[in-house]
């Protein structure tokens, strides 16, 4: 690639996607029967921000991958999670990360959280309306201007909706969503929110074959992330292991029955 210079009329501005399209760097949406799918991530608002927990499994006809990272830092204060086509989803994360950084470097100021959420809408719309490889992301972050955690979810047509409580994406949604509905209270503590979000993923993995639960054999556990005024933090492996081990122990003790409580 040579030096990408534009005159004032054709200049793509600080949008990386627009520039990439003009320079022919983006890939055309394609359709394929053989593709892995990624599933079930939850985001829950709590008193000081947002927690996110996501499973690690990619599934095509069989288990395609057991340690996919479906939640990534889009920048210091924003996390992006994906469900749907793993190929398109991971590409989507890369494009979003690059776009936010590109904007920041070009215009010497960071995009607002709402700006980032809106920026993704047309990308989702274009991908999902032109390809069977549907991707549905979930954006959560700490809003520096408004000093609170915020969650944005999308529908297949690119519609962007802010959620005040929690959001779930992926094939395990009915089970994770039910758990969150029963367990959610506003302004939870960080610990309670993490425990509830982890339980939601456990339930999803228990009932949806495409969602991977804690894998005690291979020592792989769902990703746990917090977004607070300190930014994006991924909890270490030991914490994730301890969280899921304790859920598993409780469930084993009751013979696999929740028994009318969130256990």
């Amino acid at each position: 690639m040579g030096l990408p210079l534009f005159d004032a009329q054709s200049d793509p501005g600080p949008s990386f996607v627009r520039f990439a399209e003009m320079a022919g760097l983006t890939r055309a949406p394609v359709t394929s029967e053989l593709s892995a799918h990624a599933t079930t991530v939850v985001a829950v608002r709590f008193a000081d921000g947002v927690v996110m927990v996501g499973d690690r499994q990619a599934t095509s006809y069989y288990v395609a991958n057991r340690d996919v990272r479906k939640i990534e830092a889009a920048d210091r204060f924003t996390a992006l999670a994906i469900s749907g086509s793993a190929a398109r989803g991971l590409e989507f994360i890369r494009l979003a990360q690059l776009s936010f950084e590109h904007y920041e470097k070009m215009s010497d100021s960071a995009l607002s959280l709402e700006g980032k959420a809106n920026y993704l809408s047309p990308l989702i719309q274009r991908n999902n309306l032109t390809s069977t490889l549907v991707v549905l992301p979930l954006l959560a972050g700490w809003d520096l201007a408004h000093q609170r955690g915020r969650i944005f979810e999308y529908d297949g047509a690119g519609g962007c909706y802010e959620r005040q409580d929690f959001s779930v994406i992926g094939s395990g949604t009915p089970f994770a969503d039910s758990t969150l509905r029963l367990g959610f209270t506003p302004d939870m503590s960080r610990e309670d929110a993490l425990a509830l979000a982890a339980l939601a993923i456990y339930e999803a993995a228990d009932n949806d074959p495409s969602t991977g639960g804690p894998d005690f054999v291979r020592n792989i556990f769902p990703m746990m992330v917090t977004l607070t005024s300190e930014g994006f933090r991924e909890l270490d492996h030991e914490t994730a292991e301890a969280t899921f081990r304790s859920i598993n122990d409780r469930r084993a003790a009751s013979g696999g029955v929740a028994g009318g409580t969130l256990r």
């Binding site: 030096l3 990408p4 990386f16 520039f19 990439a20 320079a23 760097l25 690059l98 010497d108």
Partner: protein, 225 residues
């Protein structure tokens, strides 16, 4: 019918060079220097929002003097080139030398074939790692590219400032000392530059992928005391 007068190529080049030099000399200068663990870029710039120094990529910074609109367009092209290259291949494949060469080609083309030469002088700085060296590439208005060993000065008064800085900066010193020397060299013996007239950018490893940091007035003041 229009008449074409013969102009000797030597004369044409001389005229164009004079034109570009005059434009560049009107602006203030920039000092870029390698210090013990990084690269610092120091500009005399009374504006707090029209920057002369900026981030191009994880380990690459840009500085420009002369006409703002001209070097700012080069800055934008550099960011696009770097982000586009990193997206197409990998982040490790973005190399300052390649970018400096593209800049040199463009400035050279504009000098010989453009309506007018660009009235700018730019610098591409790279912080080294185990794959690449720490480098300062200075590119002049006519496309001459030079690989500066320890420090580079851009702008109209470059030779004088270069002399002053070379006397002060011996070896790779700390950030604070290098910044002090750069500010002293920019100011000269008869002036004191207020912190608000300084723009400072630094490339240094702090454990993050991105190494560029723009220092605010408080940080600059603290380093200068």
């Amino acid at each position: 019918m229009s008449n074409y007068f013969y102009v000797a190529p030597e004369q044409l080049i001389k005229d164009r060079a004079e034109f570009a030099q005059k434009g560049i000399a009107r602006g203030r200068s920039i000092v870029a220097a390698i210090y013990d663990v990084g690269v610092v870029l120091v500009a005399e710039n009374p504006s707090a929002s029209l920057y002369k120094i900026s981030e191009i990529y994880d380990r690459i910074a840009f500085a420009g003097v002369g006409k703002y609109n001209e070097f700012d367009r080069l800055r934008e092209a550099g960011i696009r080139w770097a982000d586009g290259t990193g997206y197409t291949y990998s982040r490790e494949d973005v190399d300052a030398r390649a970018l400096a060469n593209y800049y040199a080609q463009h400035l050279g083309d504009m000098f010989t074939e453009g309506q007018k030469p660009l009235e700018v002088e730019i610098l591409v700085a790279q912080l080294g790692n185990k794959f690449r060296p720490t480098k300062l590439y200075r590119i002049a208005y006519e496309g001459t590219i030079s690989d500066e060993a320890d420090f580079a000065v851009l702008g109209g008064d470059a030779e004088t400032i270069k002399g002053r800085f070379a006397e002060l900066e011996i070896g790779h010193l700390s950030l604070a000392q290098t910044l002090k020397n750069a500010v002293a060299a920019l100011a000269g013996p008869d002036r004191v530059l207020p912190v608000s007239d300084l723009e400072v950018g630094v490339l240094e490893d702090r454990g993050d992928r991105r190494t560029f940091e723009r220092l605010d007035d408080d940080q600059i003041a603290r380093l200068l005391t």
